[in-house]
Structures are given as structure tokens and as C-alpha cells.
């Protein structure tokens, strides 16, 4: 069968400041094709797709869509040409109804004079939803009442209303349940059969291998290779993404779930807001204690309260060596605790400050000479931490905002390891981090355990908890649902059952 070219990208370049996000990228998408894009963070996959969708402009290069030169000025312009995109973040408008969201900008269809016929709009919304297999959502409901997944589905319905010939799906599935994913998968299949095309971006290898006809791997703004269905294989894809062979041991290799006798932190009857109720735990030295659950289970609040960021309504967090009850982050840091927030950019780092300033923040007291901060000591300290963590940077004076996600996280770790924290609360420590840095992080966490540090690892990624932790506490609705011991038999399915 002759393949018909739908979209062609030629020699596309894009820079953000000194960072070259795309380097002469060429990409061809054919009709009847589901094209996967994969790459580490910062590889350029989202940049390409957002340029195609009219969100931003390329610095140079050209695009040809349906045989015509194509240069969208805005997302709306792209949509009118026949290219629609579903983004990662929430894209619905709050405070208006489902139907209004679906027909936003198209109210004219239902207007009689100055009024909008709501009934007709809601009927049409229902039909549009049903056509995609979205059921159980009342079109008259305000969008605020819906959960993230339902809103995402509404967004898809809205985009599909314009009958795009090329649909871009940018990491949308990550946040969806199996049901939501199935809707997207069947939609993709339908588009393929109709001779349209899909550009599908995801971090989930299995998902990509399952759904894509061709998978294109990007690295550092270059297209590395496009794989046909028969070539798609986990190890090869990972290798292409990282640019070198990934060692077999990704997580900890041992299944020895033992840890020290000494209790480092004792949490007793902790209640935080409505999120966490009467929760207790003991974290030991030399232990990696995992905490998992759904995002509303109270696990993030547990971490915040243990470090004194959020106030506990009842109960206490006691650091056993000193006997101090932690009331605020100042006390926590004094007690050698460290906290890696899941909100890296907004809570863990000062983005406009240098790597050095960020790294030094909790450690100034030890850098003093005669009461004043010693420049020489500070420089040496920062250099050591950057070297220790292998932070990829131009210099220690580079602003943190210009680093990639993984390197930013390394700076956060450097801050705590540098100050000698021996009780570490890690909330989603590998969120948004690429495979290369992830591997390094897991090795680091394992090393810290061996050094006798107490580690609480809060994560929404079950494979990570299973792979790394000595014990896993699964939270549900603010209570402990079940505790698991480290074991090779432990599977995601066993844990998911307890979470829902």
C-alpha cells in the first residue's frame, strides 16, 4: 500500500536561551499512522509537537501539511488547518458547564438572537460524548465538579469536534485510569482506520509499543531513529533514548529487606487536615520505608507534616536521638532531617538563584570563619557537592532554572547530602526525571541506606516502591490500608488492590 504523506517537518530548529531544544529535526507523518514520540525530558518531543500544534513558533525550518506549506500562528489556526492537540495539563475552562466547555467558541451554532439555546447545546454535547464512548457525565454539570480524568475526556471530546486530521496526544494518558486510556486508544484506532494520523507522546513504553505503528526516538533535540513495529523492544528503545547501554540493575538488586534496629523518627497518632487521620509509623536507620497510595490518600501530607511544613492537628513527630518533637522545618533541619518536595520548582529550589546558592542554603553555619561566611569555604563546598552528585552544569554559578529536571533534582539532593542530613523524606523523588538520572538516584538512595540513613520514600510509582523499599505502607483515605515487606513476589497488582 502506498503511504500518503500528511505532515512533513524539515530542518526545524528551536532554542530557549542557550539551550538548543531542536536541532535540524526532520519528521514525516503518514496517513493511517499512529506515530509515537519518545525521549527523555528535554529531548525535544514536546517542543516539536507544540510547534506543530501552533503553541509556539520554530526559529527556522519548514512544515508541509497536506501538501501545502503550513505555519500556524496560534493553536486556533492549527485547528482550522486540521491539527488538534490534547495537552498534558488541564485544558478545560473552570466555572462553566461541561457542554459550554465542549462548545467553547462555537456557541453560535446554538444561538437564537442574543440567547444561547442551552438545551440544544447540552443535547449535542451528550451526542458528542457518546460518539467517543464517554458516558456518565451530565453535560449541564459545572466542570469543577468533575475529576481530572473526566475533564481530560471532555477536552478530548472538544478537540474531536473539529475533526482534526492529525491529532497530537501529549502525555495525556499518564494521568488517566485504564478506562480513560481505553477511550483514547480506541479513538486512535478509529483515526488510523479513517486515514488520519496521530502523534502520540508518552513515557510509558508498553503503551507505545502496543499502540504505535512507528516509534520515533529523540535525544537532545535530535531524531535518533524511527522504529517499525517489529523493531520495538524495551532494551533497544531505552538504549536509544539514553545513548548508551542501560545496566540490568535499575533498582536495588537485593531482596534483603532488613534494616537497623534504631528508630530514627517516630510518628504517633498524626492527624493532618482531613487528609491524614491518626497515623503512626516508625522509621528506622538504614531503612527505606516506602509510602504509596493514590494522590488523595494522605501520603504527601504525611511527608509535609513529618518535616513540619504542614501543621499537625493532633499527634507528634519525634526524632528519637534528640527527643525533639518537630514543629517546623527549622527544627527539622536542626535535627538533621532533609525534605525533597514533590513540587521541585515551587518549593524545593530558588530557580533564579545559582546552583551554589541553592546547595549552600541549609549549610551556612558550617561555612563560617570568625563569624562570617567564608567565600573560599562556600565555593569549595559547592564544588564538592556538584562533583559528588555529578550535576551537569556550565558552572556552579549557573542559575538552577536553566538545568534539566533531573539535574535540578540532583541539586536538591546535593543540598541535603551536603548538609549531612541523615533522615530523608523524599516525596516523589524521581518525578519527571529521565532514565539516566533516575538510575543514578536509585543507586544513591541505596548507598544512603547502606550508610545507615533513614529514608522515607513517598511515591505514586509502584515499580519504584517495589524495587527500592524494605517496607511499603499503602495509604488509603488517610489510613494505613496495608503494609508489605520487601519480597521478589511482590507485584503491582497486589498493591493496587489495596489502594482502590
Amino acid at each position: 500500500m502506498e503511504k500518503e504523506l500528511l505532515l512533513q517537518v524539515k530542518g526545524m530548529n528551536k532554542s530557549f536561551g542557550p539551550t538548543r531544544a531542536l536541532k535540524n529535526v526532520d519528521l514525516s507523518v503518514y496517513r493511517g499512522e499512529v506515530r509515537g514520540l519518545i525521549g527523555e525530558n528535554g529531548s525535544g518531543k514536546s517542543t516539536v509537537s507544540s510547534i506543530v500544534a501552533g503553541i509556539q513558533n520554530a526559529d527556522s525550518g519548514e512544515m508541509i501539511f497536506k501538501g501545502q506549506p503550513y505555519q500556524p500562528a496560534t493553536m486556533l489556526d492549527a485547528m482550522q488547518h486540521g491539527i488538534g492537540m490534547i495537552v498534558q495539563e488541564a485544558g478545560t475552562v473552570l466555572n462553566i458547564t461541561v457542554a459550554e466547555n465542549i462548545f467553547i467558541g462555537k456557541e453560535k451554532r446554538f444561538s437564537k438572537g442574543p440567547f444561547v439555546n442551552r438545551k440544544a447545546m447540552e443535547m449535542a454535547a451528550k451526542q458528542a460524548m457518546e460518539a467517543l464512548g464517554v458516558s456518565g457525565i451530565d453535560p449541564a454539570m459545572p466542570i469543577n465538579k468533575l475529576n481530572f480524568e473526566a475533564r481530560k475526556l471532555i477536552e478530548i471530546v472538544r478537540v474531536m469536534l473539529d475533526e482534526p486530521e492529525l491529532l497530537i496526544v501529549d502525555e495525556t494518558t499518564t494521568a488517566l485510569s485504564q478506562h480513560g486510556r481505553d477511550i483514547i486508544y480506541s479513538l486512535m484506532k478509529k483515526l488510523r482506520e479513517e486515514g488520519k494520523a496521530v502523534l502520540f507522546i508518552s513515557h510509558d513504553l508498553d503503551e507505545l509499543i502496543e499502540t504505535c505503528d512507528v516509534l520515533t526516538v529523540l535525544r537532545d533535540g535530535d531524531i535518533i531513529r524511527s522504529l517499525e513495529k517489529s523493531e520495538m523492544e524495551h532494551d533497544l528503545i531505552k538504549e536509544l533514548m539514553v545513548g548508551r547501554k542501560i545496566e540490568g540493575d535499575y533498582y536495588r538488586s537485593d531482596f534483603d529487606g532488613s534494616f537497623g534496629e534504631e528508630v530514627a523518627v517516630r510518628v504517633e497518632n498524626l492527624t493532618v487536615g482531613h487528609e491524614l487521620e491518626n497515623f503512626s509509623l516508625e522509621l528506622h536507620r538504614g531503612e527505606i520505608l516506602g509510602v504509596g497510595g493514590l494522590s488523595g490518600s494522605g501520603m504527601h501530607e504525611l511527608g509535609r507534616a513529618m518535616f513540619g511544613v504542614d501543621r499537625a492537628l493532633t499527634g507528634s513527630v519525634t526524632v528519637c536521638r534528640s527527643g525533639d518533637v518537630i514543629k517546623n522545618p527549622v527544627m527539622a533541619v536542626q535535627n538533621s532531617m532533609g525534605y525533597v518536595s514533590k513540587n521541585r520548582d515551587t518549593e524545593a529550589l530558588i530557580l533564579h538563584a545559582s546552583i551554589k546558592d541553592n546547595t549552600l542554603l541549609p549549610s551556612y553555619d558550617r561555612l563560617k570563619v570568625a563569624g562570617l561566611i567564608s567565600k573560599r569555604k562556600a565555593d569549595k563546598f559547592a564544588d564538592e557537592q556538584i562533583q559528588n552528585m555529578k550535576v551537569k552544569c556550565v558552572s556552579k554559578n549557573q542559575e538552577v532554572q536553566f538545568l534539566s529536571g533531573g539535574n535540578k533534582q540532583k541539586v536538591v539532593f546535593a543540598k541535603w547530602i551536603g548538609t549531612g542530613a541523615d533522615i530523608l523524606i523524599l516525596d516523589s523523588p524521581t518525578r519527571g526525571i529521565d532514565i539516566g538520572v533516575k538510575t543514578a538516584m536509585y543507586q544513591l538512595i541505596t548507598r544512603l541506606k547502606r550508610e545507615g540513613k533513614a529514608i522515607l520514600m513517598i511515591s505514586e510509582e509502584l515499580p519504584e516502591l517495589i524495587g527500592m523499599c524494605d517496607r511499603i505502607m499503602i495509604l488509603k483515605d488517610g489510613h494505613l490500608a496495608r503494609e508489605f515487606q520487601r519480597s521478589p513476589e511482590l507485584s503491582e497488582q497486589m498493591i493496587i488492590k489495596e489502594m482502590i
Partner: protein, 329 residues
Amino acid sequence: MGTKTKALNAESAQVEAKAQIGKIARVALPYAGLVIAVIFFSIATKGSFLQLDNLTTLINQSFTLILAALGATFIYAHGSLDVSLGSICMMSCISSVLAAVATQSGVVAFLVCLGVSLLCSLIVALISCKLGVVAFVSSLCVSFICQGLAGEMLDTGEIVMPTHIIEAVDRPAVKVIVIVAAIVICYVLFERTKIGVYNKAIGGNAAAAEQSGVNVHKYKILAYVISGVLLGVSSFFLICRISAASTTTGSGLHMDVMLAVILGGMSIRGGPKSNIAAPVIGSLTTYVLSNGLTLMRVDAYYVQFIQGIIFLLIIFCVFDKKKHGALPN
């Protein structure tokens, strides 16, 4: 492939170098502006700008602003916008003169000036930190309270500082020493102690600073203490120069300070790029401009007009308007 990568690397190195040059240019611009202004006026006034009595005038004029701006930099660094400086200055001056008239002691007058300024600054700090009111609002309220109290304290329109105190204090040599000492001490506090680095960190990201173990309230309050002390000292020298205190003394000081700091190339949103050179350079530039233009016999109205234009130019050149401007939104 190899040559392609090489070319790309060279290109990205070029982009980086360009960004670096731009950065240096922006940092250097306020200094360059001051130097150019000094050279320009020296030539345009045929040297009378550089004569000793004009330099003395310049020091007298800029003294209050430099000191007040140095202190305010600590507050700006952590991201607070304070509008009470002028009123606190007025309150301190009036209290100081009242104390001087009553006791005839210069020391008492100085201590009262310092104490009142410190107290008012602390009230602003405590209201914003402990009650969670933004500094702009709390300082506005304190400023109104000061205005009201001052009107009550003054029966007549103004009161005059006893001459023997003025003679002891109002000397250029003393002022030069005080300025130099203040700059050195502020530099050390700002760059080499936790007060400075923590306030910059708080201005950069208060949540991140707190989660790194910084006692945010304590260091914000310390910034106000430093500002209060410097404002007290600067108010005392001000009242000894102008001799009479009234309810309009020091009016507009908060605005002058803000403009000086921005003119010096620092964003009053604070954060990690705050620096102690900005208030000094900015204050000097402000007065070099007005002094030089006056020497050139430019009409006072035009002086303001020209100052406004130059101010806009500096903001336009120094600050990245898209990302983070000089003023809070």
C-alpha cells in the same frame, strides 16, 4: 555527523556567549551610567562640578538617600514593598528635635531618633510577619499613624534643632566616614552573614527557603531592624542639615529610595540578584543628575523631566521586561 555536531556545538557556544555578554552589559550599565554622567557634567560645567564645595553639596544631598536605600535593600531583598520610610523619617526627626529641645543633649536626640525609627520599622515588620498582612499594607498603615501622631505632636508648624547640636553633627567629614562605614557594614551583612543570604533566598522563593530550614519571620524582621537603624541614622543627619522638622520632612523618601535602588540595577522584587551596590550607585546617580543639571542652569522642571526620561531608559535597558521586571506586578 561529526562535523554537524561540531557546528552545532560552536553555534550553541556562540548563543551562550551572547547571553553572557548581555548579562554583563546589564550588570555594568548602572556603573557606566554613573561614570558617564560624572564625566559629562565635569566637561559641561568646565570643571565646577568637580570642585570641592560642589562635591560637599553632593555628599550632603545624597547622604540621606544612600543610607535609607542601603537599609531598604535588605527589605526589598526578601520581597517586601515598604512605603513607610518617609513617614518614619519624619516621625524620627520630629521626636529627635523635641528631645533635643527638652534636654539640649545631642546624644539623647540621636538615640531618640534611632529608637523611634527602629520601633516604627519593627511595628511594620511585626504586623506583616505575625498577622500575615502584606508589607505594602502594613507600612501604609504605619505611615498614616505616623502622620497623624506627628501632627498632634507639633503645636506650631515646625520646630528647630538647637544650633550647637547641628554644628557638632553637620560636617562633611563625619558624613563621609558614616557613609563609608555604612556601606562596608552593609556589604558584609548582605554577602557574608545569614541575614543577607537568607533574605535574598526568601525573596527568591520563600517556600524553598523555609523548607531548607530558614526561619523566614526571624530574618525578615532582622531586615527591618537593619533598615530601621540606618533610617534612624540618616534621619538624624537630615534634621541636622535642614534644622527644622515639620510634617512634610522626609516626604517622598520611600519613592526616592525605590527609584534609586532600581536605578542602581536591582529589582525591588528582591531575590538572589539583590546587591548592595545598587542603592549606592542609584542614589549617587540620582543626585549627580540633579546636581549637574542644576549647575548647568537647567530649569528645575526640566531637571525632573530629564530624570524621568533617563529613569525610563535605565529600566528599559537593565531589566528583562518579560521575565521579571523591576517592579512587582
